[in-house]
């Protein structure tokens, strides 16, 4: 496998699960969890993570099928392969959970996050912020003489990068939605 330059544990771009189940390597996975849209469901899922000491890097939830009474929870989590497998099994056995998809191993996926940034400044810094926003395709959704609110969608990495650039230019507040993700293709 090394000849093919496929790193063990990074199966993000492979259709096959090449992970070593006994590896101690920490991996980050994006899980899409289809649940009944009922009160307490989110608490049940989050409670599982806190009770068993699993990580939540980001979490989004919203109703996606009103007639079918379903919500989709997208959770980005990290852990060893054994822990990730265990998280999936623990989620799958919950009565309110219909499906669990590990978008990280099931094939290529699109991952997007929406973020809002409030940047305060005057003069050169303000112009620089606007210029960078253009490069990142961020929109100005609010403006005063000494502040902007930028809106941007992108991968978490892109959001991180933009935040880093804005910090010296007067970044005062960030709001992020967390990752929403879908598998590519039909």
């Amino acid at each position: 496998m090394s000849a093919l330059q496929i790193k063990k544990g990074s199966s993000k771009h492979s259709a096959y699960d090449l992970r070593d189940p006994n590896s101690e390597l920490i991996e980050t996975h994006t899980l899409a969890v289809s649940v009944d849209n009922e009160s307490g469901v989110l608490a049940r899922v989050i409670g599982l993570f806190s009770a068993r000491g699993y990580n939540i890097d980001s979490l989004t939830v919203a109703e996606v099928d009103h007639m079918g009474h379903r919500s989709r929870i997208t959770v980005v989590t990290s852990g060893t392969p054994q822990v990730i497998t265990q998280i999936k099994a623990q989620l799958e056995r919950m009565v309110i959970v219909h499906e669990v998809h590990d978008l990280t191993v099931e094939g290529p996926s699109v991952q997007r996050e929406l973020a809002l940034f409030k940047v305060k400044g005057r003069g050169e810094a303000r112009i620089e912020a606007l210029r960078l926003a253009e490069i990142f395709r961020a929109n100005v959704v609010d403006s005063t003489l000494e502040s902007f609110v930028f809106e941007m969608t992108g991968t978490p990495e892109k959001v991180d990068a933009f935040a880093e650039l804005m910090r010296p230019l007067g970044l005062v507040e960030v709001a992020r939605t967390g990752v929403a993700a879908l598998a590519r293709g039909a």
Binding site: G40, A51, Q86, A89, R93
Partner: protein, 584 residues
């Protein structure tokens, strides 16, 4: 034809439709409408306990001795919080329990009303599923779903929270067959490919062992029968966890005794040295595995479990089989027979020779005492004098529980009720009442320690009220024995708060409750005293004064491997290292 009725009536109707015969509970403001309906019918018997914790442990005893779900009815607030320990207990030991709790009316929820508690919030992490029913129209369906969830797949506790206005209001009753339950359907049939792989390993294994657990019992009597057939046909040795005792008979040829921290020498050595471990309905609990990285280092491991999250949770499995034990064992037998019933005879013969050597160590031997009753001896005599009787045993938690597991022999499933996973002191007495309610003519004995027993002793009142002739066999060492043992091994014999001072006079206590009290403090009188207990037609509190400083052996100290057991009192100081000391 739809039926209209009040929510309270629906509860009783749904219970009847689910075949419920007994409910354990305690009334209060928020469940009065349901109690009013219970009063006006005769199909369902209500057992009034003395504390809600007693209700749920009694329901657990009922469930485990019958294989049917146990039903609990309690009021809001303290009524519900008092059953939380039992709910966690049932979750850990996979016991089907349906708790029906009253709640303040919907329009008062969130207002800090009298006896309001966030019952679904409190019980969410410890139930398989719970529901707050806000509309009477949904009540009956929810109760039917609750029974379905509690009893399907890996069994467990569920809770339905019913506000008082929902009980009073009228709605449409959902008939049992119409309740939507299809979305929760755990897989029961194992993957045939994996089963074939297990059969291949069975055919060639030189040193196999069946490691069976509570899943065999939960799967029903047929699973125990299949296990017996498989063990007999292959000649493979069988050991079991605390939860699985009785699935394979203690008198069986292949029986090695219980395994784990206080398991037998032969069982633990067989687990350590085997080349094929077949885990049937057990979960590699830390009481079983000891040190993980030294756990059965040379074996291939197959694991049959209905819960996918049990697979590879702590121990890596080579052949995972997700399914119901009964279904899987049936297929294992079928495939193994169809391939010519092959086993590795020479290897197996050598293996049994080795096992006989381990058995010869006689790890459960204990020194007789001239001055006091050895607790092991008390249990051994109880076993001898009740053998062959229609007998059910419950226990509390501690040394007496381990001695009961070691010295009593279980021939059938559903005869042994003990709190394994959670280790709930105070479980045994109410559980014994629940068992006796289910089996009025059987002999039901709670093997107890005096400290555990005091935790729910109020339930003797329940036993008296319902004429449940439960026998409370208390091994009284005036100590919290297991705590004391660990303090001796681990904390330099500093016995911090581990003795029972100001104990009641148990004989007088029995008289106060209106039952029989017996005290025995020497071995010469023991048999007669036990016979007297057995002969008495009614509840008995048996105060058996035993040796105060006896330790429970064999023992695998925390953090040690299976082949690193303590067999007796030889040298117990310093056997648990610093890394083991942080474990429990």
């Amino acid at each position: 034809m739809t039926r209209q009725m009040t929510g309270a009536k629906m509860v009783v109707q749904a219970l009847k439709d689910q075949g419920v015969e007994v409910v354990f509970g305690y009334p209060g403001g928020a469940v009065l409408p349901i109690y009013d309906e219970v009063f006006q019918q005769n199909d369902i018997r209500h057992i009034l306990v003395r504390h809600e914790q007693g209700a749920i442990h009694a329901a657990e005893g009922y469930a485990r001795s019958t294989g049917k779900p146990g039903v609990v009815l309690v009021t809001s607030g303290p009524g519900a919080t008092n059953v939380v320990t039992g709910i966690v207990d049932a979750l850990m030991d996979s016991i089907p329990i349906v708790v029906l709790a009253g709640q303040v009316p919907t329009f008062m929820i969130g207002s800090d009303a009298f006896q309001e508690g966030d019952t679904v919030g409190i019980t969410r992490p410890c139930t398989k599923m719970n529901w707050l029913v806000k509309e009477t129209d949904k009540l009956a369906e929810t109760i039917h779903q609750a029974f379905h969830v509690a009893t399907s797949g890996r069994p467990g506790p569920v809770l339905v929270d019913i506000p008082k206005d929902v009980q009073f209001a009228t709605g449409t009753y959902c008939e049992k067959p119409k309740a939507k339950t299809s979305h929760y359907a755990p897989r029961v049939k194992g993957d045939p490919e994996m089963i074939t792989r297990l059969v291949e390993l069975i055919e060639t294994a030189e040193r196999p062992v069946f490691y069976t657990g509570g899943g065999v019992i939960n799967s029903g009597p047929a699973a125990s029968q299949l296990l017996r057939e498989l063990a007999e046909a292959t000649g493979f040795p069988v050991t079991s966890t605390l939860m699985g005792l009785g699935a394979y008979p203690a008198s069986g040829q292949a029986w090695l005794g219980m395994l784990g921290m206080h398991g037998t020498y032969q069982a633990n050595w067989a687990m350590h040295d085997c080349d094929l471990m077949i885990n049937i309905g057990a979960r590699f609990d830390d009481r079983i595995t000891g040190r993980i990285n030294a756990f059965s280092p040379d074996s291939k491991k197959a694991h049959i479990d209905i819960d996918p999250s049990s697979i590879n949770k702590v121990i890596h499995t080579d052949v995972p089989i997700i399914g119901d034990v009964g279904h899987v064992l049936e297929d294992v037998l079928k495939i193994w027979k169809s391939r010519g019933r092959k086993i590795n005879r020479e290897g197996l013969a050598r293996w049994w020779k080795q096992i006989e050597e381990w058995k010869a160590v006689n790890c459960l031997a204990y020194k007789p005492s001239a001055t006091s009753i050895r607790p092991q001896h008390a249990i051994a005599r109880l076993e001898a004098l009740t053998k062959g009787m229609d007998r059910y045993i419950t226990t509390e938690v501690g040394q007496h529980q381990m001695w009961a597991a070691q010295y009593l022999g279980f021939e059938d499933p559903n005869r042994w009720m003990t709190s394994g996973g959670l280790g709930t002191m105070g479980y045994g007495l109410p559980a014994s009442v629940g068992v006796q309610i289910a089996h009025p003519d059987a002999l039901v004995i709670n093997v107890a320690g005096e400290a555990s027993w005091l935790m729910n002793m109020q339930e003797m009142g329940t036993a008296m009220q319902y004429r449940a002739p439960v026998k409370q066999f208390i091994l009284n060492n005036e100590r919290l024995g297991m705590v004391r043992q660990w303090q001796e091994l681990l904390h330099g014999e500093r016995y911090s708060s581990s003795w029972s001072e100001a104990l009641p006079d148990f004989v007088k206590l029995a008289e106060a409750f209106g039952c029989k009290g017996i005290r025995c403090d020497n071995e010469a009188d023991l048999d007669d005293a036990i016979r007297e207990m057995l002969a008495y037609d009614g509840p008995v509190i048996f105060d058996c004064l035993v040796e105060k400083h006896e330790n429970c052996f064999p023992m695998i100290p925390s953090g040690n491997a299976h082949n690193d057991m303590l067999l007796g009192d030889a040298e117990t100081q310093g056997v648990i290292g610093a890394s083991g000391a942080v474990l429990v």
